[in-house]
Symmetry: C2
Subunit: 698 residues, 2 copies
C-alpha cells in the first residue's frame, strides 16, 4: 500500500462535526460509517456527549488517536479543525465541507490557507467540497451519499460527488463492485495524480477509473500514468471535451480547462483509455477488471442467430479489432462438428437450433485457433438454449484457453441469472453487440499500452547559450514577438535554415546576394507586419542586379503599409528549389495543463482548410515524433505518393524532436511556428519563424 | 389501412401444417395464436381431427374462409399448400417454412416457383423463412417465437427472425411496445418497401423501425421512404456496414450487398434515420414515438448535479444540437428563482439540495425561452429529490410547452417507478446523458427530414439521340470502354469541353492546332492505355510548329508501350489557363441496389489520398447537386479560400445535374468519370472522359 493507506484502511475514523440532527451531513456520514465498518468511529462535537449511540468527544485532544479525520464543520472553522487534528498527529484528512474556491472571494482565501496548513503538517487532504471516500475491503463508507459500494477490484475517483451517487445505485444493480472510491472535491492538496500513483501500487486494484473535469498538472499526471499503466489500466471520462462542455465545466468547478487537443494528446501519450460516456466507462472497466488482454486482434464470433452475428461483425469492423481469419484446420473441425446449414466461417452461425453442446464445440474449436485472440458469444433466446448452462460453458472455455471472452446473451429477464454467474468469473455480458466488441477493444487498447516502448527524448547537442542570448533580444527590444531575424535560434538547435542574412542597407543586400549562388528571396523583417506577402513585403527570384531596387521597394511598401512599424531590416535568403519539396509546419503553444503542445501538418490548405494536423505534448522521443508525421491524412504525400520523390521524413522527425528540446529547455517560449519547414528529398530547411516569448521569464 | 390489412388484422387465421407435436414449429405458432387473439384460429392438417383443442380441417377447401394463411408444412409441399389457399380465396400468406434460396439449389428453384405463384394469384406473401407476424391491436402473435410484444405505436420489420426474438424479451422488460411486427424472411414477394408504404398509411404507427441486411430495390425504397417520412419517421439498422459485416451478411442471407456508400447516400436521401446498434435503434424509436420535434436546435439542460450536467453539455456538443443561449429575461428569472450557488446559465445547475419544486421552476422558465427547442432533465439521486414527483413535473411541463423533454434520472432501482410513469406519457428516460441527447438529436433529424424540400431533377434540353448514337459506337467497336474520343457525348448533354479534335494523321493535327488560338495539348487516344501521362502519351503547351513531331512522338510512345494497343488517334485540344482553376472529378458507378451513384471531389490527392468525396444516388435535383459540392471538406477551395478567385460553383452544380440526367437516361452507361472537370471563375470544362458501357443494353 502507498502513502495514502490510512485514507482507505484506517483503524480509527473521526467525524469532526458529528451530529444527530436530521438531514445534516454530519449525521449522514456517521450513519454510513456505522454500517459494517470494523474500525472505531469517533464523533467529535463540543456540544454533545453522545451521538447516535457513540461516545462523542469535545475535541480532538481528548479523543483517542485518529487515523483519518473527516471534517464536516462550517467553512469558517475548517482550518482550525484541521490544525487541531494535525497537531494531534493525524496525517489523513477528508474535508467534506464546501464553500472554498468554488464560491470565490473568502472561500478562495480559505483554500489558500488549507494548502498552507497541509504543507506545514505534510497532510494528505482530500477535498474540500468532497462527498467523502469509501473502501470496500474494510467496509468503510465515509461519504454522506445514499449508497454503499459493492466490493470489487475497480478503484474510482470523481471530480463530481453527484457523479458518484448517480453511478453507485446503478452499479449496485449491475453487480459492479469497487475497491476504493474517492470524491476528489476541489483537489486542493491531493489530486488525480496522487490517486493514480496510490492505486497503481495497490495489488487489489485491477482497474483505475475516473471522472475528471480537469487535470491539475498535466506533465506530472502523464508521468504517473505512464508508470502505472504498465500494471494497471486507467480509464477516464474527461468531461468538457466540447467547447460547450469546457465552458460548463469551468463554471462548475472554476477550473481553467486546457484545450481538448492537449488532453487528447496528453491522455493518449499517458496510456489512458478514454471513455466518452458513463456507459462506456463501465463497459470498459468491466472488461479490464475481469479479463486478460488478447494476444492478437482476431475476434471469433459464435452465435445461434445470423442477424445479431452480422451486427457483431459490423461492430468488429468499426473497432480496431478484426474478424479472425480461421485456419483451414479450424474450418474443417467446425464443418465436422456443426450441422450442414451452419456457417463455419467467422462469424460462426451455429443456427437457431444450437444447444449448449454445440456452442461448447464451436467455442472450443474457435478459441484453439492461433489467429483468434478473443471471442464474443452472441445468442438469441431459443427454446433449446439454456442461458445458465451456456454461461458455464463460456466460463469453462475462457479459462481453459486463457483468452478473453465476452457475451451478448440477448433478451431481458432470461439473461439475468446467466449474467450473474458470468460476472462472478469476470466475464461481462453486454446487451448490445457493439458494446461487447468495444469491451474487447478496450482490452486490446490496453495491451498496446503495455507493449509500447516510450523512448526517452534524444538529447541533441545544441548551443543552448546562444539560444538564450537570442531569446533575450526580445527583452532588450521590449517586444515579445520574434520573427525571421531570430532564425539563428533554429540554427543553435541544429535545424537547417537557408543561407542568408538580414541586412539594413541596399548595398549590403547586394553583397549578400552576390555571395549566394543563383537568385535570392527578399523579405521585410518587422515584428509589426505579420502577413508580409500580402503587403508586397516578399520578393522571390531576385537576381543580383535587381537586389538594390528590390530592397528599396520592399522597405517602401512596409513603410507605406504601416508608417510606425519597427523595421529590423530585409532578409536576403538563398532561393530553394521547392518543386520537389513539400511545405510542412511545426508549431507549439503552451497548454495551461499540459505545457508545450507540438503541432505538425502540411502547410497551407492542409492546416487551414482541411485541419489535417497531429499534436503531442513535449518533450517527446523519436517514436512519438514519427507518429506525428505518420498520423496526418496527407502523410503519403511526404512519403512519395503519386510518383513524387519521397521527402526526407527522418529529417522532419528529427526537426520535431529538436524543436521539442528547444521548447522544453526554454519555458519562456510561449508560442512558436516554423512555417514553412520545407521538406525535400535531401533534408529540410526552416524558411520562416515566428515566436512569442514571455519576457518576464527570460 | 393499406392493402396488407389482412396480414395484420385478419378475422380468421389458418395454420397450414398445425400439429400438437412437442417442439414443432406448427405447434408453437398455434399456441401463440391461442393467446388473446380475438379472431378464429383454423388448424389444417390432413392427419388430425383436432389439434390443441381446436377443430382441425383436412384441407383448405373444407375449412371456413381464411383471411391469413400461415404455412408451416415441409418445404417440398409449400408451393402446393399456397396454391390450395390461393384457390380457396386467401390473398395473404406467411411462409414460415425455411429451405428456399438460403439453401441454394432446389431451394432456389422453389423460391422461383413461389414468386410465380404469388404473381399468378396476386398474393401478399411474407417469407419464406420467416418467424411470422404480430399485431398487438388484435393481440395476434402469429410467430413461433417465445415472446409476445407489448402494445405500442412502433411498427417493426426485421430481416432476421432471431433479431426479433432477441429484442422482444428485452423490449418487454423496458416497456417498449409495438404495433405490427414482421419477420421479413427471404423477402421473395413482400419486402421492406411494401411495409414502409403499408405502415406509412397506418395512423396507429408512429414510428417505423427495421433491421435490414439489404434493400432489394433501392430506387423504389428511396421513393417510398420519401413519401412516408413526411408523416412517419423511419429508423433503420442496416447491417453489413463494414466490409467484414457485408461479407457476413451476404453469407447469412445470400444477399448481394451494395456498397455501404450507396446505402449511406440512398438512406440519407430517402430521409431514413440510421442507427448503428440495437440500443440506438430503440433509443431513437422511443423518442420519435412519444415526442414532438423541436422547433429549434437549442437544448436546455436542467440538473441538480454539476458533473452530469457537464457530461450532458458535452453530449450536446457532440450532436447536431446546441446548448440554448438563454435570453436575458430567462437568466433574470432563473437568478430570482434559484439559490445563489446555482448556475443559471445553461446547463442550469439547481445544485444538490434541489427539490422537485426547484426543478419545476427551472424547467418552467427554461421551456418558456424562445431559444429553447428541447430540454434534458438530468438528476443524481439525493435525499430531497423524489423521482416519482419529478416525473410528474416533467410530464406537466412537457405538455404545457409542447416541446420535447427527455430525462436522465440517474441511479438504478430508484429510477424505475419514475421511468414507468414517464414512459406512459411518451417521455423516454435514458441511463446515460449521451443517449438522452442522441434521442433529442433523432427528433431534430426527423424535423429536418420533414422540412426539407426535395426538388425534382431539372430536365435539361439535351440531344439524347446524338448521345445514343455515340454510345452505340462502343458496340460497333466491340469494346465497352469509351474515352476522350467520346467527348461529344458530354457536348450532347450541354457540358462544355475544350475546342479540339481527334485526328489520325500529323498533317491534320497541325491544321487543327493552327485553327486553335495559342498552344495546344495533345493526348494519345486509346482504350487500351489508361495512364496516358505515365507513358509519355500527353504533351502540354505544344506550339503549332511542334505539332507534327509531337504527333509522331506520342504515337510512337504508345506503340512502344503496347504494340497491339488500339490507337484511335491523337487528341489536339485547346490549352486552358488552369492557374485560376481547380480540378474536380465527377464520377458514376452503378450500385446493384440503388443504381447510379454519383461521386464528386477535387482532383488528384483530394480524391486519391484524402478521400474527400461526396456521393448521391441519381437522379437528383439542384439542391442535392449543390450539397455534393458543399459537403466535401475542400469545398472552401472552390468558393475562393486563401485569396483565390472563386470558381463558378453554379456551373459545377449544373454539370452534376446534367451528368445525373445522362446516366439516368442511359442505363447502359455502367461507369463514367469526368476527370478532370476544370472549374474556373467563368465556368467549367470537361477535359477528359472515361466510361464503360453495357454493350448488351444499348
Amino acid at each position: 500500500m502507498g502513502r495514502l493507506s490510512d485514507l482507505f484502511a484506517p483503524e480509527t475514523v473521526a467525524v469532526v462535526g458529528a451530529t444527530d440532527r436530521e438531514g445534516a451531513v454530519g449525521r449522514a456520514i456517521l450513519e454510513n460509517l456505522q454500517g459494517d465498518f470494523a474500525g472505531e468511529v469517533i464523533p467529535i462535537n463540543p456540544n454533545r456527549d453522545e451521538v447516535l449511540g457513540l461516545e462523542c468527544y469535545q475535541d480532538v485532544k481528548s479523543a483517542p488517536p485518529i487515523d483519518l479525520a473527516l471534517i464536516v464543520v462550517p467553512p469558517s472553522v475548517v482550518i482550525d479543525a484541521i490544525e487541531d487534528v494535525a497537531r494531534a498527529g493525524t496525517d489523513d484528512v477528508v474535508v467534506i465541507t464546501a464553500g472554498f474556491s468554488e464560491t470565490g472571494g473568502e472561500g478562495a482565501e480559505r483554500e489558500r490557507r488549507l494548502r498552507e496548513i497541509a504543507a506545514e503538517y505534510d497532510l494528505n487532504v482530500v477535498g474540500p467540497n468532497s462527498l467523502g471516500v469509501m473502501s470496500t475491503p474494510v467496509e468503510m463508507n465515509a461519504t454522506f451519499g445514499p449508497e454503499n459500494a459493492l466490493e470489487g477490484s475497480i478503484s474510482f475517483m470523481s471530480q463530481s460527488g453527484a457523479f458518484i451517487t448517480a453511478v453507485l445505485d446503478w452499479a449496485n444493480e449491475q453487480g459492479i463492485g469497487f475497491q476504493d472510491v474517492v470524491s476528489l472535491g476541489n483537489k486542493t492538496v491531493l489530486d488525480e495524480t496522487d490517486f493514480v500513483r496510490e492505486w497503481g501500487d495497490d495489488p487489489e486494484t485491477d482497474v483505475i477509473i475516473g471522472y475528471l473535469e480537469d487535470i491539475d498538472d498535466g506533465q506530472g499526471f502523464l508521468q504517473a500514468a505512464r508508470d502505472v499503466t504498465d500494471d494497471t489500466p486507467i480509464v477516464l471520462v474527461k468531461s468538457g471535451r466540447t467547447d460547450a462542455g469546457a465552458q460548463a465545466a469551468s463554471s462548475h468547478t472554476g477550473a481553467i480547462a486546457g484545450s481538448e487537443r492537449a488532453y487528447e494528446a496528453g491522455l493518449e501519450q499517458a496510456g489512458v483509455i478514454r471513455a466518452t460516456s458513463v456507459q462506456q466507462l463501465f463497459d470498459y472497466a468491466r472488461a479490464l477488471s475481469g479479463l486478460p488482454e488478447p494476444d492478437t486482434d482476431g475476434v471469433a464470433v459464435v452465435t445461434n442467430a445470423g442477424g445479431p452475428g452480422v451486427l457483431t461483425t459490423d461492430a468488429v469492423g468499426d473497432s480496431t479489432l478484426e474478424m479472425a481469419n480461421f485456419t483451414d484446420e479450424t474450418i474443417d473441425e467446425l464443418a465436422a462438428a456443426m450441422p450442414d446449414e451452419a456457417n463455419v466461417y467467422n462469424p460462426i452461425d451455429a443456427i437457431g437450433d444450437a444447444d449448449v453442446e454445440r456452442f461448447r464445440e464451436a467455442l472450443d474449436i474457435a478459441l484453439d485457433d492461433p489467429n483468434v485472440g478473443s471471442a464474443v458469444v452472441v445468442s438469441a433466446p431459443t427454446a433449446v438454449l439454456k442461458y445458465d448452462k451456456l454461461a458455464e460453458v463460456v466460463i469453462e472455455k475462457r479459462e481453459e484457453y486463457e483468452k478473453p471472452v465476452v457475451t451478448c446473451l440477448m433478451g431481458g429477464d432470461r439473461a439475468r441469472a446467466a449474467e450473474e454467474v458470468l460476472r462472478e468469473f469476470g466475464i461481462p455480458n453486454y446487451f448490445d453487440p457493439s458494446r461487447a466488441v468495444a469491451g474487447l477493444g478496450a482490452l486490446a487498447q490496453y495491451r498496446d499500452v503495455r507493449e509500447r516502448t516510450i523512448d526517452e527524448p534524444t538529447e541533441f547537442d545544441v548551443d543552448r547559450e546562444r539560444a538564450r542570448e537570442i531569446l533575450s533580444r526580445a527583452r532588450n527590444r521590449d517586444d515579445n514577438r520574434l520573427g525571421v531575424e531570430s532564425m539563428d535560434l533554429l540554427e543553435a538547435y541544429g535545424i537547417p535554415t537557408p543561407t542568408g542574412e538580414i541586412v539594413d542597407d541596399p548595398d549590403r543586400a547586394r553583397d549578400v546576394a552576390e555571395s549566394i549562388e543563383g537568385d535570392v528571396v527578399m523579405k521585410i523583417v518587422s515584428p509589426d507586419i505579420s502577413h508580409k506577402s500580402d503587403i508586397g513585403g516578399v520578393k522571390v527570384g531576385v537576381s543580383d542586379e535587381d537586389v538594390y531596387d528590390a530592397y528599396e521597394d520592399v522597405v517602401a511598401r512596409a513603410r507605406n503599409y504601416q508608417p510606425d512599424a519597427t523595421i529590423l531590416g530585409v532578409q536576403v535568403q538563398e532561393m530553394l528549389d521547392i518543386d520537389e519539396s513539400t511545405e510542412t509546419i511545426v508549431g507549439m503553444n503552451r497548454d495551461p495543463q499540459f505545457g508545450p503542445l507540438l503541432l505538425f501538418g502540411l502547410g497551407g490548405i492542409f492546416v487551414e482548410i482541411l485541419e489535417d494536423t497531429s499534436v503531442r505534448v513535449a518533450p517527446l522521443g523519436e517514436g512519438e515524433a514519427r507518429e506525428m508525421v505518420d498520423e496526418i491524412k496527407a502523410a503519403p504525400l511526404l512519403r512519395g505518393a503519386r510518383g513524387r520523390e519521397p521527402a526526407d521524413v527522418e529529417a522532419v522527425v528529427e526537426t520535431i524532436q529538436r524543436l521539442s528540446q528547444l521548447v522544453t529547455d526554454f519555458p519562456s517560449i510561449l508560442e512558436l511556428d516554423v512555417n514553412p519547414l520545407v521538406a525535400g528529398p535531401d533534408g529540410v530547411q526552416a524558411i520562416d519563424l515566428r515566436l512569442t516569448v514571455d519576457t518576464e521569464e527570460l
